[in-house]
Amino acid sequence: MAVAAERAPGAEVDESLLVVRDLVKHFPIRKGVLQREVARVHAVDGIEFDVRRGETFGLVGESGCGKSTTARLITRLLAPTSGSIVYDGKDISSWTERRLRPLRRDVQMIFQDPYASLNPRRSIGTIIGEPLRLLGVSDRSARRVRVREVMERVGLNPEHYNRYPHEFSGGQRQRIGIARAIVLEPKLIVADEPVSALDVSIQAQVLNLLQELRDEMGLTLVFIAHDLSVVRHMCDRIAVMYLGKIVELATGDRLYAHPRHPYTGALMSAVPVPKSAAGRGRRRVVLAGDVPSPVSPPPACRFHTRCWKAQQICREEEPPLESKGEQDVAACHFPLSEGEVDALTRPSTE
């Protein structure tokens, strides 16, 4: 896989903690007594990206585009249908659970719904200490000391060690999830919509906490969200997904200054801005229709059924994810011009 890693656009091999190539995950849909496969959900359909050491890498896109599946593939909670996942120089894509065990220490996940991911019958001290126990730290008092330390760090009162998840608010539960994720001092954390269920004031507290931990512990973070403002706030580089594909990948600043892919442009113009004069004179692209089914995604460019720039070639040839200037890549035959971007994102004077 070293060969594949070398063609990582703009990245040195050893700069990257994670190198993903041609990654595919299809979920079979089975029917009947024989459970024959009748169709497949193309959840992730050939994506590639690198995550550099110490960076925060964002994945953004609408419901069902494959973000969570990608998260579960790179943490190897799921096995890929095909493709490679190179973590720290080793291709882990087909490793067995047994072989993955040491890696479970390095790579942790934080989930959207903290409540669903916390065992309601365990005290939070036990929950946060679980990864230590699994790793074989059998000394209970040593575990307790470490857990209290971590609780303190994420802003939970260590006195609450023996309380149960239902006694905590949504924001506190997310802190429990974060505490459990950092208790082993991982290298990589994959956070899947960690603040999507939280109120804005609590969301801001949790985002700040994640940033502090990242800076303190030198963490590499893969941050997944459907909220573009949150992703932009948190991430160095961002990949935009649509129907199982990455359609654009760029640094946060460049992505927002000049989106190349029409889908990225549409997403950004759809975000309402909390300003009195906002939106007036701005050309809001309202995409028609819904996202097509990932069971039978449209051929060639998957966005062509909703794209206002679509031409014949878009229905016939899949645009490759290729450079559109600097290190940005986008998969589009007719990327947005600067003039088009202006109309989409800046309020006009009329």
Partner: protein, 338 residues
């Protein structure tokens, strides 16, 4: 005379843990063709306020007082039968989860036809034609076929459009939309918001839009009420609220959200702590445990909702001049607030 006038509304619920004071003295008014936004974090009493308008909080454990005047009549004291006539036909409501208001076993077209016929004496085929027209106008592709779909066969965005189609077919005076887009993707949210705007522009429907998203408020609303712990803390026309907000809680909300329209900031400045329990609401100003500016009277007495300038109401002990100064200094510290 406003179309809808809520005056000193109180709603509380007796529960095992104590009395939940969900709405504690809310007064709001709504004119035809206007959109009133109610914004606030979880548990601030937005939904209870909205549901009480159409009589959906009349539970045995609920205590409701105050007046809600609509068309010369008080909805709080109106009997259930009359209220049912108003609900749907004259005041329609759509929710975050349209599945909860659509019957799972009936085809969506049938449900709209029935809704029309409950309120109007029209033949079935006329109602059907109106239903298909309404489905078409909310952008449901091939509405003749979709007429026969069941709710679970549609996506969330499509179901929300069906609910709006129902509202369209009935042409209510008021549409109450409680977090109509919270569960939807942004591109679908944009479609749904556009439809609500069209409903207002084409039929003069007044809208109460409940959301926790200040961006949605800025895009959609003429007037805004910011709620916290069952109270309105600040209320103003949209421009006033976004250009010169005067309540520390509103400032806190604006500082908490990452902004797409401003340079990236290093760290957000969230409001400390979390919202209070509505069983034990803090004494004095309900926001004081989280407020960085707490002056002494805030701990003792609750400030009244007072006019800071015409049309701009604020519930805070600080003087207007002080609040203006504080807002200006916040703006100079945080470019995103300018």
């Amino acid at each position: 005379m406003a179309l809808l006038e809520i005056d000193d509304l109180h709603v509380s619920f007796k529960t095992m843990d104590g009395v939940v004071r969900a709405v504690a003295g809310v007064s709001l008014s709504l004119d035809a063709r206007r959109t009133l936004g109610i914004v606030g974090e979880s548990g601030s009493g937005k939904s209870v306020t909205a549901q009480t308008i159409v009589g959906l909080t009349r539970f045995p454990n609920a205590k409701i007082s105050g007046r809600i005047m609509f068309d010369g009549r008080d909805l709080v004291s109106m009997d259930a039968d009359h209220l049912r006539d108003i609900r749907g036909a004259r005041i329609a409501m759509i929710f975050q989860d349209p599945l909860s208001s659509l019957h799972p076993f009936f085809k969506v077209g049938h449900q709209i036809v029935e809704a029309i016929r409950v309120h109007e004496d029209v033949p079935r085929d006329v109602a059907k034609r109106r239903t298909i027209e309404a489905l078409r106008s909310v952008g449901i592709p091939s509405p003749e076929e979709r007429f026969d779909s069941f709710p679970h066969e549609m996506s969330g965005g499509m179901r929300q459009r069906v609910m709006i189609a129902m509202a369209l077919a009935l042409r209510p005076d008021i549409l109450i939309a409680d977090e109509p887009t919270t569960a939807l993707d942004v591109t679908v949210q944009a479609q749904v918001l556009e439809l609500i705007q069209a409903l207002r522009d084409d039929f003069g429907t007044a809208v109460i839009l409940i959301t926790h998203d200040l961006g949605v408020v800025a895009q959609m609303c003429d007037d805004v009420a910011v709620m916290y712990a069952g109270r309105v803390l600040e209320q103003a026309p949209r421009e006033v609220l976004f250009d010169g907000p005067q309540h520390p809680y509103t400032w806190g909300l604006l500082q908490s959200i990452p902004r797409l329209d401003a340079p990236r900031s290093d760290r957000l400045s969230p409001i400390a702590g979390s919202p209070p329990s509505l069983i034990n609401v803090p004494r004095g100003c309900t926001f004081h445990p989280r407020c960085p500016y707490t002056p002494p009277p805030a701990l003792e007495t609750e400030p009244p909702l007072e006019e800071a300038e015409p049309g701009h109401l604020v519930r805070c002990h600080l003087s207007v001049e002080e609040r203006r100064r504080l807002w200006q200094s916040l703006q100079s510290e945080h470019p995103a607030l300018r």
